[in-house]
């Protein structure tokens, strides 16, 4: 399998007024060429920080990558100087953000915003740029592209704007697209349209996608593989089938139970409690305080990684033989 991106043991810290926040604490995952990986977790778990780290957009000097490597096509991005990163951003790796209403500059035409990256990075002529821009608009499904190039963002609806944002991200034909909560700010039907668009684009251009979201419904539609993140760590990784049909970690199970599903009946159960404070994160498993099956070892030691299959990994003490014995004993009482 050709790995286009490999993140190894990434640690990102922020120094703030109240102390140091350990936002990302040893995250490792990889992305294969042409697939879609979804990083799932609740607000504050570190997923956005991770994607910002890949792009080299961690606000410095308050934020810092203190450990780890990010290998893009074999090269470690954490070692790149800013100037070199600028040649990567928008060209090899692109990113789109959550809120389409604020992602576009209100005082510039969308034509300008579409073409500027292309002109700067690929040095094409204005005419060529316009041609490409129109092509992209058609790709993302905006009618009357030639005319609308001269329009301003406020003349488009939310769904349209997000399409434009996607067009801007893809115009330089990047190999990796990071989408940070791309549908969260949109209505239901528009959400579905945008997700379909992602699928169509991936088919057409072969771009690899990292999709960041807290919404499992979104994940179910287009993800090939899923990484579940909690309190700065990835606690479970697997293919879509692995995660949806054989979830191992209590947190993953909790997430699935709090989302309505057509194949199960029963009540929705939200997970009690809130994530831990990242100023002084717990030494052991961060989910212990909210876990219905917490054990003493969970508090004391961070769970080792268990591999259930080539594609499915989880960090949970319940995988240990002794835990399974304990569960069996408790069940037979």
């Amino acid at each position: 399998m050709d790995r286009i991106l490999e993140v190894n043991d990434l640690h990102v810290h922020f120094s703030t007024y109240g102390g140091t926040v350990q936002a990302v604490r040893g995250v490792s995952f990889h992305l294969n060429r042409g697939e879609t990986l979804a990083i799932v977790g609740e607000s504050g778990c570190g997923k956005s920080v991770t994607s910002n780290a890949i792009m080299g957009l961690i606000p410095s000097p308050s934020g810092k990558i203190v450990n780890g490597s990010i290998l893009f096509k074999g090269e470690d991005l954490t070692k790149f100087p800013e100037k070199k990163m600028r040649t990567i951003r928008g060209v090899d790796i692109s990113m789109i953000f959550q809120d389409p209403m604020t992602a576009l500059n209100p005082t510039l035409t969308i034509g300008t915003q579409l073409m500027e990256g292309l002109i700067q990075h690929k040095k094409v002529s204005a005419k060529e740029a316009e041609k490409r821009a129109i092509e992209m608009m058609e790709l993302v499904g905006i009618p009357n592209p030639k005319e609308r190039l001269k329009h301003y963002p406020h003349q488009f609806s939310g769904g349209m704007r997000q399409r434009i944002v996607i067009a801007i991200a893809l115009i330089c034909e990047p190999e990796l697209l990071i989408a940070d909560e791309p549908t969260t700010a949109l209505d239901g039907t528009i959400q579905a349209q945008i997700l379909e668009l992602f699928g169509a684009i991936q088919e057409k251009t072969g771009v690899s996608i990292i999709l960041i979201t807290h919404d499992l419904g979104v994940v179910a539609k287009i993800a090939d593989r899923i990484a579940v993140m909690y309190a700065g760590k990835i606690i479970e990784t697997g293919t879509k089938r692995d995660i949806f049909y054989r979830p191992q970690h209590p947190y993953t199970k909790g997430l699935l139970h709090s989302v309505p599903r057509l194949d199960e009946r029963g009540e929705l159960e939200p997970i009690d409690g809130t994530p831990p404070d990242l100023f002084s994160p717990p030494i052991g498993c961060p989910f212990t305080a909210r876990c219905p099956l917490a054990m003493e070892v969970c508090n004391k030691v961070y769970p080792a990684t268990s591999s259930l299959s080539e594609t499915h990994q989880v960090n949970c003490w319940l995988q240990d033989e002794r835990a399974k014995q304990l569960l069996a004993a408790a069940a037979s009482k």
Partner: protein
């Protein structure tokens, strides 16, 4: 855009009319008419006044005739300076004040914006602290006090600049500094805070994610958005500079309109006060209109009379 300008023009005219009316009402309510023979020194002036202001007619007729005279730009005679009309005084003094004002505005706007941008880009650095410290002083020290201080130090003691009057570029330096410091400080502060806020916006993040160079991001993306709030306060600043000319011209003995105005206030030369007030107000209102139009050009949401949403 057209509708926008029309609306602004309408408001401008109404405002002007209100001021003219207020001026008229106040003048006729001066205890003991301002136009009686105690004030004037001779019969010729008195006759002039009566002719111009129609003092024998009932108030509402006076008012209408007054409006007419304003519309025809005839601002009446002066009481205290025989054979001078307000128009004469304006003709002499205004060009000088205008020059002072224009130079001041250019200096204040350019240096204020530059300072503000620099501070925002070097947020929390040395430049930022120094610039903003200077700015707070700038808005706190009244321009006339700064003026006297400048004269005392630079003109009298060190003799670098001339003390008074208006005959060479060197003469311009001190008055302009005194008049421009306040507005420059205000512009610098506003530009800085506006810039800082713009730099946290999503579209700036997006521009960075596109790999655009920092220069391009600052000038092409950030600046236009950051300057919009600055344009909106230009009106107030202009008014401040205008009233500032009153005292600055006094202190530096510059023969501009402001000086004549202050003199007429001190001497209670009512026709001059009225005429000048109306003129100044008209001028200011016109400037405000220009500022509004400039804002309309900057902000595309106004330029293209908003269409409601697009196709879904």
């Amino acid at each position: 855009m057209f509708r926008y300008i029309l609306k602004r023009l309408l408001i401008a005219l109404i405002t002007l009319w209100i001021i003219v009316t207020i001026t008229f009402v106040l003048m006729v309510s001066v205890p003991g008419s301002p136009f009686n023979s105690e004030q004037t020194s001779n019969e010729a002036i008195q006759a002039n006044l009566e002719a111009h202001y129609n003092l024998d007619k009932p108030y509402h007729i006076q008012y209408l005739l007054y409006l007419k005279s304003i519309a025809t730009l005839d601002l009446g005679p002066s009481i205290k300076q025989p054979s001078q009309t307000v128009n004469d005084l304006l003709g002499r003094g205004f060009p000088i004040s205008f020059e002072l004002g224009m130079v001041t505005i250019i200096v204040a706007v350019i240096s204020g914006i530059l300072l503000g941008i620099l501070s925002a880009l070097r947020h929390n650095g040395i430049i930022d602290y120094l610039a903003m410290g200077f700015a707070v002083l700038g808005i706190s020290i009244p321009n006339f006090i700064l003026a006297t201080f400048l004269i005392q130090q630079l003109a009298v003691n060190l003799k670098i600049f001339p003390v008074a009057t208006w005959s060479s570029p060197m003469h311009m330096v001190l008055p302009v500094i005194a008049l421009a410091t306040g507005p420059m400080a205000i512009i610098a502060r506003l530009t800085r805070s506006s810039m800082l806020e713009v730099l946290t916006q999503d579209y700036i993040k997006m521009a960075r994610a596109k790999g655009l160079s920092p220069w391009k991001i600052t000038i092409k993306h950030a600046l236009r958005n950051a300057l919009m709030p600055v344009v909106t306060i230009m009106g107030t600043l202009l008014a401040g500079i205008l009233t500032g000319t009153f005292v600055i011209e006094q202190i530096f003995a510059i023969p501009g309109m402001g000086k004549y105005f202050v003199e007429s206030v001190n001497q209670r030369d009512y026709p001059v006060i009225m005429g000048t007030t109306v003129f100044y107000s008209a001028f200011l209102i016109f400037m405000l209109l220009l500022v509004d139009i400039a804002y309309g050009i900057l902000d595309p949401r106004i330029k293209l009379h908003k269409k409601e949403g697009g196709e879904g």
